[in-house]
Amino acid sequence: MAVTPHDVPVAVAAGADAWGPVQDLRGVPGVRLVTSPRHATVLLVAGTVPEADGEALQRVHDQLPRPRAVVAWRPAQAAADVPARVVDGGRDATVTALREAQATVLADPARGSDDLLDDTDPNEWRGIGPFGQGGEGMMGGTPYGRPMAMTGGDRDGLALDQLELTLGPFFDPLPGGCRLAVTLQGEVLQEAHLVVRTADHDRFAAPTDEGLATARRLLRRAAHGLHVAGLDALAARTAALAARVTDAADRRALVRDTRGLGRRIRHSGLLWTLRGVGTIDGVDAAGRWRNRLDTIAAGLDGDMPAASGPPVMPAVEDALVGMTLADAMATLASVDALQARPAGAGAS
C-alpha cells in the first residue's frame, strides 16, 4: 500500500476475538497497521484483552511515541487499562475514529495519552559491584535488572549463549491470542513453547452460513500471512475481499475474485519460498497455503470439504525447533487454526 502523509499509522493490541476483524483494516486505504508500536500514532485496543495481559497492553501503549492516541474497539471492560475513545460500530466507524483520533492529537499534542508505566529502568547500571552488572567479563550479574544469558549446547557441539524471549501477546507477526516463548541461539530456535488463548465470548458477529464464516476467517488469516511475508499490497486486497464476505454477499462474484486472488498469490512466488518450510504432519507451509486457498474457494462456493482439526500443538512446537525466527513466523502464519492451550501450562 502506498504511504501517503494522510495515512494513520496504527499499532494493534487485539484480544483473541477481535484479531480477525482487525485484519479487515488492512484493506482500508488511509489506515496502515504498522508492525511496531514505535511507528504508530494511534493504538487500537480491540475486543477482549484478558486481565492477565493488562501490563503488556500498558507497555505497548507506552512504546508508542508521544503524542499518541488510543481507540478502543468494542472493549469488554470499558477500557480498564488504558483511557481511550470507545467505538462500538463496524469497520467504517472504527476507521473514522482512528482518523479523528490522529487529527485531534496532532492538532493538540497536550490531548495525547500519557505514559502509564514508570519511567525507571528495572535496575540502574552502576558498573561491576553488588548493585551493578555484578560479574566479570561477559558472564554473571544482572545488568539493567536482567540476568546474563546462560550457555547451552548448540547443533555444532559448542556451548553458546541462549537468549530467552517471550513474544506476544500483541506481537504483530503472531496470530491473535498467541504467546511464543523461545530459546534462541543466534537466530535459531532451540526451544519453542506456544500458548494460545481463545476468547471466552466473541463480541464480533460472524456470517450465519458456515461456509461463508470459514471463508472469511481464512481470508483474514491469509491477509495476515501475506503481511508477515511482506506482501502488503496482496494483504490489502485479501482483507478487502474478507470484508465483503457477509450473508448478503454475491457468492459468485466472491468466488471469481478469490480465484483471481489465488492466482496473484501463486504468481507472487510466496508458495515457492515456503516449499519444505515448517513441515507438520507431512504438509509443508506451501501445502497449507494451497489448502487454505482451496478451502476459501470451497466455503464461498457452498460445498465445505470435511474439516481436518487443527494440528496437535506438540507437533507445531517440534516443527519450530531448529528454524530461524523468520521461518517460524512464516510457519505459524500458514497454520489455519492453533489448538487452544491455557496460559498456565508451562510458559510464563
Binding site: 511496531s36 497492553l57 561477559m138 536482567r146 540476568p147 548448540d154 537468549l163 501477546p169 543466534g186
Partner: protein
C-alpha cells in the same frame, strides 16, 4: 605555523560547543524523550527475560577465511606477474614465502571443515 591552524581550530571548537549546547537544550526541554518502556525491545508487550548481550556462532566464518586467503593471493599475484618478468628468481622466492604464510590459513580452514560440501 600554529596560526595557520588557529582559524580551523577555532571553528572546530565552536562547532563542538554549539552541538553540545543543542544536545543539552534538547535533552532538558524536549517533551518526547524516550522512556524506560520505550528503550525495551518490542516483543509485543513483554520484557526479555535475559540480557541481549550474548555470543552466537558466526557460521559463515570458515567461508570468509577461505575467501580472504584466496582473494589476497590473487590480489598480489596479478601485479607480481609483471614484477616477476623484471626480477626473476628473487620475486619467485618472495611470492613462495607469501603463499606459504597464506596457506597456513587455508590449512586451518581445511581443519575447520571449510572444504566439506554439506
Amino acid at each position: 605555523m600554529l596560526t595557520a591552524f588557529l582559524s580551523s581550530l577555532t571553528v572546530s571548537v565552536a562547532a563542538a560547543l554549539a552541538t553540545a549546547a543543542c544536545l543539552v537544550v534538547a535533552r532538558r526541554t524536549s517533551p518526547y524523550r524516550s522512556t524506560a518502556p520505550q528503550r525495551v525491545p518490542v516483543l509485543g508487550g513483554l520484557e526479555p527475560a535475559t540480557h541481549a548481550w550474548s555470543r552466537f556462532h558466526v557460521r559463515y566464518y570458515p567461508m570468509t577465511l577461505l575467501f580472504i586467503a584466496f582473494e589476497m593471493e590473487m590480489m598480489f599475484m596479478y601485479p607480481w606477474a609483471v614484477v616477476f618478468v623484471e626480477e626473476g628468481v628473487t620475486a619467485l622466492a618472495e611470492m613462495g614465502m607469501f603463499l606459504a604464510i597464506l596457506s597456513v590459513g587455508v590449512v586451518y580452514g581445511w581443519r575447520e571443515g571449510a572444504f566439506r560440501w554439506q
